[in-house]
Amino acid sequence: MIRAALMLLCLALPANAAPEEDSVLAGLSQNRIAITAAFDGTELLIFGTVKRSAPMRGETPPGIIVTVSGPSQEITVRRKERWAGIWVNRAALKINRAPSFYAIATSGPLTEVLSFTDDLRYSVSIPQAIRTVGAAHTVEYTDLFTDALVRIRSRADLYQNNESTVNILEDTLFDTSITLPANLVEGDYVVRLLLTRDREVISTFETEIYVQKVGLERFVYNLAHEQPLLYGLLSLVLAIGAGWAASQAFRFVRG
């Protein structure tokens, strides 16, 4: 199916486009992810093509970088320290913006496909995607806190560094897949593609995926937030009903 889609993409490209810069085009296997009760994560396939302005003339092959980032959140990272014999949260770092999910996939080792200046400019690598403006005033060694954030979220598969996982065919077609874990936050996820040559970004492409709760999940979430009293009462009625029903059932079974 992917191969067919790739073919279609190639055919769709105008044969004699204006000869400017090389650019990049891509498609996704899904652009809407529904969180249902049985949601257990999903795999996102990203495929596309490098649109060439001129035939390749012995230049270096292109680099492709794909990033997927979830809605940004303000977060607080706290560190426990031993205090009066017990471990207590003491120092805290407030982070302006940290993506709730961030995955990066590249066609080669990151340092070989992207220069440090372009990493800064486009906020590509995981540390660059986290904003800690003005944080240095609150605690010493800010890096320790941001490292901890990356470490903890990487363990939960929320931050993924998948270097050399983008396959490039004939220097024009490429595809990769990114695994989205079950604990996704709702919102718009931005998928970004960067085409690089000689470690410089020469073209970008951006699209979005909408992640949202549907069906029962949506209903429960909305009710809890829009009608909290009704929701609270419903929780109690269900709880007491279940308790009573089970005790009756148990009595019936026991005679």
Partner: protein, 303 residues
């Protein structure tokens, strides 16, 4: 089978949740404790956010205690008048507790204070019950009569009321204070508070063991119901799906537990409960003292 929980926003194995509910239900029926002191730390451990764990376990306790309360009402082992006095205190305490809980959450110290509360309360009460039960067993072995102690200062307080079912004529002040304390714990720790109320009723108020469990369940059902509503309307942290899974496991467990409980004598029951309380206390104290694997933690928001 993985299940995505709409309010907790995590995906958890449904059978794990049923199992936790069942285990806690058995304890609930056996000892007349809501089991919240076990269920809340277990929910933390499997990755439910603390605020959701506390609020939802209050909801779960309503159900598991309700089915156990029905069993006690049928056996007429509930002192309704004493229960109502404890309940009035409990509702006041629950309201205060939710305010304190929100304040602690803003300070980022909710886990620490909840843990310290657990260690202190479980430690004191577990040790007290253990010693008392050992003494009682020793006395009964010698063939002597187990006498109930009446505290003279409690006898001296005003506003005395006759509690016929408990065979007591005491002031309403001590039970109201016990109720307030239990209400605060219900809101902060996500517990029914049976583990503190049962010993207080036996040792402080001098109630007969026979009516203690039923009466404490009566108070627990109403106080945890109020706590659930308060958390649902102020924090939106009650997860109905998580609650229902815990309940389905819990109600079955509670029925089994009540039957086990009636077959054992009161002293054995008390010594078992004391052992269990001390075990949970020890585990939590250990976690506070031993260097954690990860000293950093993440919370959403800047508050």
């Amino acid at each position: 089978m993985q299940l995505y929980l709409p309010i907790a926003e995590v995906s958890i194995n449904a059978f794990l949740l049923l199992g936790i509910g069942g285990l806690v239900g058995i304890l609930s029926g056996m000892f007349g404790v809501g089991g919240g002191f076990l269920i809340t730390p277990l929910l933390f451990f499997i990755g439910i956010p603390p605020a959701v764990a506390v609020a939802t376990s209050a909801n779960q306790i309503v159900a598991s205690s309700f089915s156990a309360l029905l069993a006690h009402l049928k056996r007429k082992t509930v002192d309704l008048r004493m229960g109502t006095v404890l309940l009035i205190g409990g509702l006041i305490g629950s309201f205060l507790g939710v305010q304190v809980f929100n304040l602690l959450r803003q300070l980022g110290q909710v886990d620490l204070l909840v843990n310290i509360f657990y260690v202190v309360f479980l430690g004191i009460i577990g040790a007290m019950m253990f010693v008392e039960s050992l003494n009682a067993i020793r006395r009964s072995r010698k063939g002597g009569r187990v006498t109930r102690r009446h505290h003279t200062w409690i006898q001296a307080l005003p506003l005395k009321v006759k509690f016929r079912k408990s065979g007591l004529y005491i002031s309403v002040i001590p039970p109201v204070i016990v109720g307030i304390l239990v209400g605060i714990l219900a809101a902060i720790m996500g517990v029914g508070g049976g583990f503190i109320m049962v010993p207080a009723m036996i040792y402080l108020l001098g109630m007969p063991t026979k009516v203690v469990i039923g009466t404490s369940l009566f108070q627990i059902v109403f106080v945890t119901a109020a706590t659930t509503l308060l958390h649902a309307t102020t924090n939106y942290t009650v997860d109905i799906m998580l609650g229902l899974l815990l309940i389905v496991g819990g109600v079955i467990g509670a029925q089994v537990g009540t039957r086990i409980g009636t077959r054992m004598n009161a002293e054995q029951l008390r010594i078992l409960l004391a052992g269990l309380v001390l075990l949970v206390c020890g585990k939590l104290a250990f976690d506070l003292l031993v260097p954690p694997d990860e000293v950093y933690s993440i919370t959403e928001g800047w508050s």
